[in-house]
């Protein structure tokens, strides 16, 4: 079997890492970057910090679009593409949260493939086209989203009232910058949700990666970071280092997780978040806590390998030690902060469970024993 590791992203992580961005842009042979950011990045001053990092360099931002809202749409992408061409920009900088990442990635696909509308790419196999180079530099804000390093991207079309999904090398970013200053204003409940989301991606990603060895070190790294910084990042709100580490854990865990085929947990989380317009990361973190307890014998075998991540000498059953440690992390966070810790915190009705299960089974590409009606209902009940 041929295996491919195609995640050629450069990570710049730490204090003042933004100061390296201008250098990276020049290294890629570019000098006319277009900045795409959300209004939040503008209001919270992240945009100013980014622009300031170019002081003293010979690269200036060529064009700025800061109008992306909370949910990116195909209209945003089409506008970005037009402005990119009109301003003769040669690379993209994405600054912000998930919506910016999604809009930027789709725009890059469009720029690489030609000036078509997003709908025309649906179902097209973009993996066989020649790779065109429009370098993309990503600067996540607040707590990142996990999709910064992913080839997978989803976008909402207001015209057709549908969500388009893509999986393309074109959607890949070249450089991801996790700078402490981009986490300045992040409430503890958001840190908790995204930290647990990173934990879910890392552990589930490790267990489900099968013989894909290259993604496992990303999972191990994220777990190691979260073990050290997650609780501290929630309790010590003023300490930016912990929050930046958690942000990097979300990015790193996402890097491994989104290289894998979309699995059960991700599909179920997407179904719920699309249906109720709730945060997918939060939903996945809630589901994972209960889902991992039902790990099959094979999955427990893999799970046991994660024991090395936890400094725990006691306990015979390695997998159980790992499960206990994961539950302990959840319990500590439950005590530390009031966050959405169960599906009942959202406006989800129990009477919808049956249709959620049906939609999940229909949406999943890969068949697995987890995709049984009773398993999903049971999981939803437990997570409620």
């Amino acid at each position: 079997m041929v295996k491919v590791s195609d995640n050629n992203i450069k990570f710049l992580i730490g204090e003042k890492s933004l100061e390296n961005l201008a250098y990276e842009i020049r290294l890629a042979g570019c000098d006319k970057p277009m900045l795409v950011c959300d209004d939040m990045a503008r209001r919270l001053g992240y945009k100013s910090i980014l622009l300031k990092s170019f002081d003293g360099t010979d690269t200036d931002i060529n064009y700025i679009d800061h109008t992306i809202g909370d949910i990116a749409t195909t209209n945003d992408c089409e506008r970005i593409v037009k402005e990119f061409i009109k301003s003769a920009s040669d690379c993209l900088i994405l600054l912000g949260k998930k919506a910016v990442m999604s809009a930027g990635k789709i725009s890059k696909i469009m720029l690489c493939e030609g000036e078509l509308s997003v709908a025309e790419y649906e179902g097209k196999d973009l993996s066989v086209s020649e790779v065109k180079k429009i370098p993309m530099f990503v600067v996540p804000t607040n707590y990142a989203s996990g999709i910064e390093c992913s080839n997978k991207v989803r976008i909402y079309s207001p015209d057709f009232k549908t969500i388009y999904q893509f999986d393309s090398t074109y959607a890949q970013s070249d450089v991801v910058v996790c700078d402490s200053r981009m986490t300045d204003i992040t409430p503890p409940k958001a840190v908790a949700s995204y930290g647990l989301y990173a934990l879910a991606m890392a552990v589930d990603g490790y267990v489900k990666s099968g013989d894909s060895l290259y993604t496992k070190p990303y999972a191990l790294t994220a777990i190691e970071i979260l073990k050290e910084h997650l609780i501290k990042g929630i309790l010590k709100v003023a300490d930016k280092e912990h929050r930046r580490e958690i942000m990097s854990a979300v990015v790193i865990a996402g890097c491994g997780y989104y290289q894998l085929e979309k699995n059960f947990l991700a599909v179920l989380s997407d179904v719920i978040s699309d249906r109720y317009k709730v945060n997918q990361a939060n939903v996945m973190a809630i589901l994972f806590r209960h889902y991992i307890r039902h790990a099959s014998a094979d999955d427990r075998e893999v799970l046991s390998q994660l024991r090395v991540c936890f400094d725990e000498d006691e306990g015979e059953d390695d997998a159980q030690v790992v499960l206990d440690r994961i539950e302990k992390i959840y319990c500590e966070i439950d005590e530390a902060v009031n966050y959405n810790s169960c599906l009942g915190d959202f406006n989800i009705s129990k009477s919808d469970f049956a249709s959620i299960a049906e939609e999940t089974i229909a949406a999943a590409d890969v068949k697995s024993e987890e995709l049984s009606y009773s398993f999903i209902i049971n999981l939803l009940e437990e997570s409620y």
Binding site: V2, D6, N7
Partner: protein
């Protein structure tokens, strides 16, 4: 602890049986049309160039315009400039390197010259900034296991005219993709293959022990050590490596390369580079001789890290049963025992003097090693006397 770190794996890795069949598709994906194949005479004799030609010919968009098979063991500045002339004279726009470290380093420097539109390689010497002006699709078909040169962004090249070595380092040099097909390492004798495996282990351990804070590269190092340990344990029991283990070893090669590329090496690499610059000894054999001595010498400064390394190489039960204070020593012993066993089984040289290294050259080697760039991020500053002590023990 450093407050900033970076990690990059810019190389797409294609592994597994028959992964060579992906070669044409990947070259097209990266925009290749007219290819220069860079290799050496041994590889040509083995028929690998013919396999590449056959696969490339299946895609009508691709054409091999020229083949350069004059790469010697240990690449040189003249060799690269000769390949550059061939590349230009034949209107090539892309490169396939098929071979081991020397071939790959030659192709990397060739790419650097073409991508920066520089006619003299000497103008690009040293670690520094070179701006890319052109994209040159560059694929590697690896025929050895171990070096990591298919992944990293450095090349050490011999300057025959000035009797010295030059270091080149730039992201521009990195291949776009690397194919690790077990068929292409089949011709390696078992001892060379295992020495490659040992080199991987050493690369990973040195990358981990390097004090430059980099959790991602650390985990690549740890994970490859974990897999290697399983492979070696299997080999000790069965005395052979099946195809699946070969593939795993190749995957470890990529992971260990990623770790080393981000963390750089350490003392063993500095000494090995210096020894190889002054002799005809094989890089991985020298490394296998030098590393156990370096590891034992540095045990006190790396006690905690070596204990962590042990955790990745033995089952939990065994780990728990070993006295906390003895874990580091146990790891050193376990690693060195395997290396010694391989050297003994195949009758390979255990000492530098048996590899043709002259005792009179040790002082010069020690000086070279002190100035090696891999020690830039080392936790400890090594004096010439430290180097001499280790060299004497290895000699």
């Amino acid at each position: 602890m450093n407050k900033f770190y970076q990690f990059a794996n810019k190389v797409k890795i294609v592994t597994g049986k028959d992964s060579i069949n992906e070669l044409a598709k990947e070259m097209v994906l990266f925009g290749a049309r007219n290819i220069l194949v860079v290799s050496d005479r041994n590889i040509k004799k083995l028929g690998y160039i013919d396999v590449i030609k056959k696969i490339v010919s299946t895609n009508t968009r691709l054409r091999i315009n020229a083949t350069y098979v004059n790469v010697p063991r240990g690449s040189s500045m003249d060799t690269i400039e000769e390949a550059y002339t061939l590349f230009k004279d034949n209107s090539c726009d892309s490169i396939i390197a098929c071979g081991g470290g020397s071939v790959i380093n030659t192709a990397k420097c060739l790419k650097l010259m073409v991508a920066t539109k520089t006619k003299k390689l000497s103008q690009l010497c040293g670690t520094g900034y070179a701006r890319k002006q052109d994209d040159i699709p560059f694929g590697v078909v690896a025929t050895t296991v171990g070096g990591g040169s298919d992944i990293d962004e450095t090349a050490s090249i011999i300057d025959e005219r000035n009797m010295t070595r030059h270091e080149f380092s730039s992201e521009i040099m990195q291949p776009d993709f690397c194919i690790l097909d077990p068929t292409f390492v089949k011709s390696l004798p078992e001892d060379r293959f295992l020495l490659g495996g040992i080199e991987l282990l050493i690369n990973s351990v040195e990358a981990y022990l390097n004090k430059r804070y980099n959790p991602i590269s650390n985990n690549y190092a740890l994970f490859s050590i974990k897999i290697l340990s399983n492979i070696f344990d299997d080999f000790v029991v069965s005395g052979k490596l099946d195809e699946n283990k070969c593939i795993e070893l190749q995957e470890c090669s990529a992971m260990s390369g990623m770790a080393l590329a981000s963390s750089l090496g350490g003392l063993s690499h500095a000494l090995t580079n210096a020894i190889c610059a002054c002799s005809q000894a094989y890089h991985n054999l020298v490394l296998a001789v030098v590393f156990p001595v370096c590891l034992a010498e540095r045990l006190d400064e790396n006690r905690e890290d070596c204990a962590t390394l042990l955790r990745y190489t033995v089952p939990q039960k065994e780990w728990s049963a070993i006295d906390k204070n003895k874990r580091a020593g146990y790891f050193v012993e376990k690693s060195c025992t395997f290396i010694k066993a391989v050297l003994e089984k195949y009758g390979l040289a255990h000492r530098l003097k048996d590899m043709g290294v002259e005792r009179e050259s040790l002082e010069h080697i020690a000086e070279l090693a002190c100035n090696d760039s891999v020690l830039l991020t080392s936790a400890k500053w090594y004096e010439k006397s430290d180097m001499m002590k280790i060299l004497e023990m290895c000699w």
